[in-house]
């Protein structure tokens, strides 16, 4: 290993493809569990990785509204895909989590509550895209509030090591450029990689984002990047920037949606929406959850489990006697208005990072960018068909 090389704070570095496996060792030595992309069930999903061989080498994905296919690449790129149905939120905000257990004290009507111990897993996320970094920042604002913080999220988030990967190609449903969340990771990572395949050469240009990142890099063979190598990397990211499959006009978006809560487009989209909740499950920022209280058969122990929930379900808005959002229209409106408008009032940021997952994984191909465009183009239309006074 070449530990004696100069590591300047502002300089970039290069790890050759042949040395990339050492990154896994370096992370594992520090107690990190490496999670990242791998091919499973016909998609690229995020899961535990044992070695570099688990990465989706030579695979890419083809995406459009309601459409996702894995395809072989002509090169052996490790990160030559965009994003799949999973996001990193499943690690920090587990889909199913026991919050506490309670036990009755014999015949006494009282009970004792035992909180669950906090997790101490140290995750290393390998392959975090810029839009996904922004999704983490968005969820940080949700779960790490000044008054209340989610202890499980906090514990896992603080320990997580983030290896970002800059996108060198965009997918058919991507619109990070519109949301100003990509394609290049600008900060908040420990290490950021740009994968370059140039003829026979295959390497990663590495940017260090933290002291922890610098320490890990020390353990991986690397050298200072030449200006040509940095230029090669930048050119590829630039290329992705020009390939966005979608655009979304965010000008005045909050007020646009606030003044169009009765727009006929909501009725129209409700004709297509299956209310299946796929968009909320794949969304990297959606954070809604519910709890289930259960007991054992004898009624001596009880527990509370938190699981992901969706504003698309009828029960979500249940209030003694019925649900408040009975129509699919009202549930789609809630989701989209929350994502693009009320989120701004709540957390000072959009809830959308432009990753395109909700478009790709919608079984009927509803496209949030198209829905917003339809409202913008007939701003002020009401159900009667007339303009609002």
């Amino acid at each position: 290993m070449r530990l004696d090389l100069d590591l300047r704070a502002t300089g970039q570095h290069v790890i050759d493809r042949g040395d990339f496996h050492v990154l896994f060792k370096a992370l594992r030595r520090r107690g990190y569990q490496v999670v990242g992309p791998r091919v499973r069930d016909g998609a690229i999903v995020y899961d535990a990785l044992d070695s570099v061989d688990d990465l989706p080498q030579g695979w890419t994905d083809e995406q459009d509204a309601g459409h996702y296919r894995l395809k072989r690449r002509e090169d052996p790129a490790l990160f030559g895909y965009v994003v799949g149905p999973h996001s990193w939120k499943k690690f920090l905000f587990p889909p199913h989590l026991r919050l506490w257990r309670a036990r009755r004290n014999g015949d006494d009507p009282g009970f004792e509550v035992q909180p669950e111990p906090l997790p101490d897993t140290k995750y290393a996320f390998l392959g975090v895209r810029s839009c996904e970094l922004h999704a983490l920042f968005v969820q940080d604002r949700v779960f790490l509030g000044e008054k209340h913080a989610d202890p499980v999220y906090k514990a896992l988030r603080e320990r997580a090591f983030l290896v970002a990967v800059n996108c060198t190609q965009a997918g058919g449903t991507c619109f990070c450029v519109s949301m100003r969340t990509g394609p290049k990771a600008q900060g908040g990572f420990d290490l950021a990689l740009t994968e370059v395949l140039d003829g026979e050469r295959h390497y990663f240009v590495v940017e260090v984002g933290s002291e922890r990142g610098r320490e890990v890099l020390q353990d991986v063979p690397h050298r200072e990047a030449s200006p040509q190598e940095v230029a090669q990397a930048e050119e590829r990211v630039k290329q992705a920037e020009g390939q966005m499959g979608r655009t979304l006009d965010t000008r005045g978006i909050k007020e646009l949606l606030y003044r169009n809560l009765e727009h006929p487009r909501w009725d129209e989209v409700a004709q297509r929406c299956l209310s299946c909740a796929n968009c909320t499950m794949v969304c990297p920022t959606c954070f809604c959850s519910t709890v289930e209280d259960v007991t054992d058969l004898k009624g001596e122990t009880a527990e509370r489990v938190r699981r992901w929930d969706s504003c698309f379900s009828l029960e979500f808005s249940y209030l003694h006697g019925g649900s408040l959002r009975r129509s699919v229209k009202s549930r789609y409106r809630q989701w989209m208005t929350h994502k693009l408008a009320t989120w701004i009032d709540q957390f000072g940021t959009s809830g959308c990072v432009g990753c395109g997952r909700c478009i790709t994984w919608c079984p009927v191909g509803i496209d949030i960018t198209e829905e917003l465009r339809a409202i913008r183009e007939s701003d002020g239309l009401t159900r009667g068909g007339g303009e609002e006074a």
Binding site: L99, W100, A102, R104, P109, G110, F111, E112, V113, P115, V142, F143, G145, K147, H148, D150, P151, Y258, L261, E262, F287, C288, S289, T290, V291, D293, V294, T295, G299, A302, R304, D309, C311, F316, S317, Y318, L319, H320, G321, L324, R325, R326, S327, K329, S330, Q334, H338, A341, T342, D345, Q346
Partner: protein
């Protein structure tokens, strides 16, 4: 985030479907709260629901909750006996602005179980009676059988420093009071609209018409506060269930200045 056990020390039957529970902590504990706030009440193995605090804020060692049996958890709460234990998380949410209202006339308008979250506010006002102008309680229930805190209402009605008007939507024999919706009491209430703060809680349709009737008498929506109700799981703004437009009813509410949520209050199925 974890419920603490409190023991039921008293159960009072308010109406055919509503009970008032008095709780004391199983270990010594002071529980300061502000009028209008709520707790999450947990029944072992059944579940947890948000319930307003109905007790006197001057008594922080005891919790009072009035519960109407409308679902699995509230039915379980209403079947609790003296000595049973419930889990409590709280207090959560915003409060009636009792201090801001000092020096003003106060009009409290309640519909049905909506009196429960207003009771601590009225206790506060009566305990600091000299700081307020005219104080009016307007209370509407479906029938005379649905009136909460009956004895206390009668006691309040006997005071010379408080106007109490009660109405029911429909009455049988033996009722000699007003009949009609609660808004019909507004024209007869004694307050100076320009100097009035109104606190309103009840079904949304009742709150909508109450705000309108108050506006007709000259009370600005800036001076009207309402308490909202939504499905809640976490009570701290994480679960997303209680969203009402940009507001989380659990942490931004349940008490809102009406003018601030008016835009969404007008839209159906928000």
């Amino acid at each position: 985030m974890v419920p603490r056990p409190w023991r039921v020390v008293r159960v009072r039957r308010e109406t055919h479907d509503t009970k008032t529970l008095e709780l004391e902590p199983t270990e010594p504990l002071s529980f300061p709260f502000q009028p209008g706030q709520f707790n999450m009440l947990y029944v072992f193995g059944i579940g947890e629901v948000p319930i307003s605090i109905s007790g006197d804020p001057q008594e922080p060692h005891r919790l009072v909750h009035t519960v109407r049996a409308v679902g699995a958890v509230t039915r379980a709460l209403c079947s609790l006996k003296r000595g049973d234990v419930v889990g409590v998380r709280g207090p959560f949410g915003s409060a009636w602005p009792v201090e801001e209202a000092e020096g003003h006339d106060v009009v409290i308008v309640a519909g049905g179980i909506g009196l429960a979250p207003l009771r601590p506010a009225l206790h506060h006002v009566l305990a600091n009676r000299g700081k307020y102008g005219n104080v009016v309680l307007l209370y509407g229930a479906r029938t005379p059988r649905d009136l909460l805190y009956r004895k206390e209402l009668e006691r309040w009605r006997g005071r010379f420093d408080l106007q109490v008007e009660v109405t029911v939507d429909s009455a049988g024999e033996g009722w000699y009071g007003h009949v009609g919706v609660v808004t019909t009491l507004i024209p007869r209430a004694d307050f100076d609209p320009a100097e009035t703060v109104a606190w309103v809680c009840g079904p949304e349709i009742m709150m909508r018409f109450t705000v309108q009737a108050l506006r007709e008498r000259g009370v600005s929506p800036e001076d009207v506060y309402i308490s909202m109700e939504r499905n809640m799981k976490c009570a701290v703004g994480f679960c997303g269930h209680c969203q009402f437009g940009p507001e989380f009813v659990c942490k931004d509410g349940p008490v809102f200045r009406f003018a601030e949520i008016e835009r969404f209050f007008r839209v159906r199925e928000v």
